[in-house]
């Protein structure tokens, strides 16, 4: 584990392939290769050099690009599997998930559910996969960017012969005079090369910053992941649904009882071919009902002074807003979005107390389904008592009438009707389009008269403090991609060896562009255009 001192005097870390300063081949295996592997400048990737403690072993595991690629492949396959059937949050709430998957998709659905794929994207193993990609990203980057930076910083102008000879572009010229060198230098400068000189040797370099592109990109990705992680921190990300009937005022969840919102009216508009431009007439005819607008006329209130939950709060109007799709009501860090609705929810039901024989009526009863009264006195000895109320009526398994919820989706009543003829009262069970007289024939009935309905709106309560971190991560990601993709790191060495001029060049991509630049820089000089040794090798093999 000793550092390696090169003959040029530079001390390289253990595991270095090419001397950071002069480029001499230090690694014996690379000695007899005709071309150098220039990845990471032949620097000592530290992960590949030490393998001692458990910490080093974990580090080395994550430092491997091979491991990283496999993690990504596995995650991709898993993510794809999650799209085969809908995720649990998207299935209709009519049935429990464990029944739904089997009912809809048979044995495959059952298996899917049992493997936990119904909540794949928030399962622990999926998160572990993502986290491992994140760790691999951090460690791979650290392990490469540091040695690469050091090697590029330590490079000297004068390079070892072995280094130059083994570059892909390499050529030797004799009888070159100083004027030619000066001309080449001038032209390279004009092409925006940075030129360094040392004892008559030249190094022209440009676009080194493009080597940092992948690392900038990885930093962006890591920030992106941190943003995603922050969503799990309480208070950073809120996504709740608030159902609000017309005329109702409710506290906005997650605001500590500070804000209240009222739904004054919910509006659903369709496109009307009479009112729209003639152009759309055919389209509207073909598609039928097309919704033009979902809108909640909302009023936002702020509580004045302290209030204990349950107490009637004193409210101060903050603002009115017509909430439409993508036009949320915004306040502080919150936004209320239109997300769902329910039209014509039953609100009141009216009945007339009617004599079955004569058809005469003795007064109307209007029942608020959210707050029915126990008794409705109609005067003159007539009256109605509500013995039982089932807002969401069904018969239970034991045959008893019962209610499924508190929402009046299917209201049913047990009435006791009193009249001068029957002062003790007659009992009648009344549901929608159904009347049962359990205790024998009645003289009176509750004749259905009408209903009033209200619309209900659903608003998403959204607060997202992580979005700017995610956006920043995304921007850095793209900067990194652009930096690495649209610029190339090019180097040209023009060096004096034994009275000859040696030219070698290297780029991390786009060799054609580099060759053209060299050709134009060397034109009209006595310096030969360097050969492409890879092309030559290929030609030799093919016997051309």
């Amino acid at each position: 584990m000793k550092d390696v001192k090169c003959e040029c005097g530079h001390v390289n870390p253990h595991g270095t392939v090419l001397c950071e300063a002069c480029g001499k081949v230090l690694d014996e295996q690379s000695q007899d290769k005709s071309l150098l592997d220039m990845r990471y400048e032949g620097s000592a990737r530290r992960s590949q050099t030490y393998n001692k403690s458990i910490v080093d072993k974990i580090w080395n595991f994550f430092s491997s690009v091979k491991v990283g690629v496999w993690l990504i492949v596995v995650t991709l396959v898993a993510s794809a599997a999650g799209t085969i059937l809908p995720q649990e949050m998207y299935i209709p709430p009519t049935m429990p998930a464990e029944e739904y998957y089997e009912d809809q998709y048979g044995w495959f659905g059952k298996l899917y559910y049992e493997l936990g794929f119904n909540n794949l994207y928030s399962s622990w193993w999926y998160l572990v996969l993502i986290a491992m990609i994140g760790i691999s990203l951090v460690i791979c980057s650290l392990d490469r960017v540091v040695p690469l930076y050091k090697a590029l910083k330590a490079q000297k102008v004068t390079r070892h012969e072995g280094f130059l000879k083994r570059q892909r572009l390499f050529g030797i010229s004799e009888n070159v005079d100083e004027q030619d060198i000066a001309a080449v230098k001038q032209r390279l400068k004009a092409k925006r090369y940075n030129i360094r000189e040392e004892n008559g040797d030249l190094l022209a370099e440009k676009g080194r910053f493009s080597r940092w592109g992948p690392y900038v990109n990885h930093v962006g990705l890591i920030i992106f992941l941190i943003g995603g992680m922050l969503r799990f921190v309480p208070g950073m990300y809120i996504d709740k649904v608030l159902w609000l009937r017309e005329g109702e005022t409710k506290v906005v969840p997650e605001t500590d009882g500070q804000y209240y919102v009222a739904n004054e009216k919910f509006i659903l508009e369709n496109y009307d071919k009479e009112k729209e431009d003639k152009t759309f007439e055919a389209a509207i005819d073909r598609a039928g009902m097309v919704v033009k607008n979902y809108q909640t006329n909302a009023v936002l209130y702020k509580r004045v002074g302290p209030a204990i939950p349950g107490e009637q709060p004193e409210l101060e109007k903050v603002k009115e807003h017509k909430i439409k799709v993508n036009q949320p009501l915004k306040f502080e860090k919150f936004a209320l979005y239109q997300v769902d609705y329910k039209l014509d929810e039953l609100n009141t039901m009216s009945f007339s107390l009617t004599n079955k024989a004569t058809g005469n009526t003795f007064g109307d009863v209007k029942i608020n389904l959210y707050d029915p009264k126990p008794k409705y006195d109609l005067g003159n000895g007539y009256g109605v008592e509500v013995l039982s109320f089932f807002p969401d009526f069904e018969f239970a398994k034991d045959g008893e009438p019962t209610t499924k919820s508190r929402i009046p989706n299917n209201p049913a009543f047990v009435f006791k009707m009193t009249s001068p003829e029957v002062p003790k009262g007659e009992t009648s069970f009344v549901a929608i389009q159904q009347t049962i007289e359990p205790l024998g024939d009645n003289q009176y009935k509750m004749a259905f008269k009408g209903i009033e309905t209200k619309n209900v709106t659903a608003l998403t309560v959204r607060k997202d403090l992580t979005i700017w971190i995610i956006v920043l991560g995304g921007i850095l990601f793209m900067i990194g991609v652009i930096q690495g993709a649209y610029w190339n790191h090019r180097r040209i060495w023009v060096q004096n060896k034994n009275g000859e001029i040696w030219i070698a060049a290297h780029t991390n991509k786009n060799w054609y562009g580099l060759k053209r630049e060299i050709e134009s820089a060397l034109s009209e000089t006595k310096i030969n255009i360097p050969n492409d040794q890879i092309q030559r090798e290929k030609m030799d093999k093919e016997g051309v």
Partner: protein, 174 residues
């Protein structure tokens, strides 16, 4: 040099591991993350019972409070009501108060239910859902045990048996 490397690597791995562990923990607990945590002060509230009497949680300092959230349509709630009623009668002189908070139903429904089940303890209706929001109620039934200092001792969701109710009352008896 080698020592520094080990320290650096350990530190970086530790930070990464901590971030991953936290994320996993937060994700797995996000569904049952309570608004009201055990060991913390229970949020105060004021509600009016069926007799028109005002009940303020903080007025019950010095007594244990058995706080139950329920609905008339909820079968498990219905099942545990008689047990709560029995134990209420047993413990009310021992300094345990029962408050049964109905979740936004009509007075009629609640009164009829209370009559049918012959309930003696005070029942309050959280009409506009403020108290449910403050306690983050979902699903029903939900029971909070609050001790004499107003601290939450336990949270329970799901049906209670008579012996559990007794055990709970015993827990908050001052």
């Amino acid at each position: 040099m080698k020592k520094r490397r080990l320290v650096m690597r350990t530190a970086i791995l530790f930070i990464l591991a901590a971030a991953v562990a936290y994320t996993l923990y937060a994700n797995l607990t996000k569904d049952n993350r309570m608004k009201v945590e055990v060991g913390k002060q229970a949020p105060d509230f004021v509600l009016i019972d069926m007799e028109g009497e005002k009940h303020k949680l903080s007025d019950y300092k010095g007594q244990g409070v058995f706080l139950n959230f329920w609905g008339t349509w909820c079968k498990p709630c219905e099942a545990e009501m008689p047990y709560i009623n029995n134990q209420y009668n047993h413990y009310k002189d021992g300094g345990v108060q029962v408050l049964a908070v109905n979740v936004s139903e009509s007075e009629l429904a609640v009164n009829q239910f209370a009559e049918r089940k012959k309930l003696d303890f005070p029942i309050v209706i959280d009409t506009d859902g403020q108290v449910q929001t403050a306690y983050g109620i979902n699903p029903l039934p939900a029971t909070f045990l609050i001790d004499k200092d107003g601290k939450v001792v336990k949270y329970h969701t799901g049906t209670l048996t008579e012996s559990t109710v007794r055990e709970f009352m015993e827990k908050i008896k001052p």
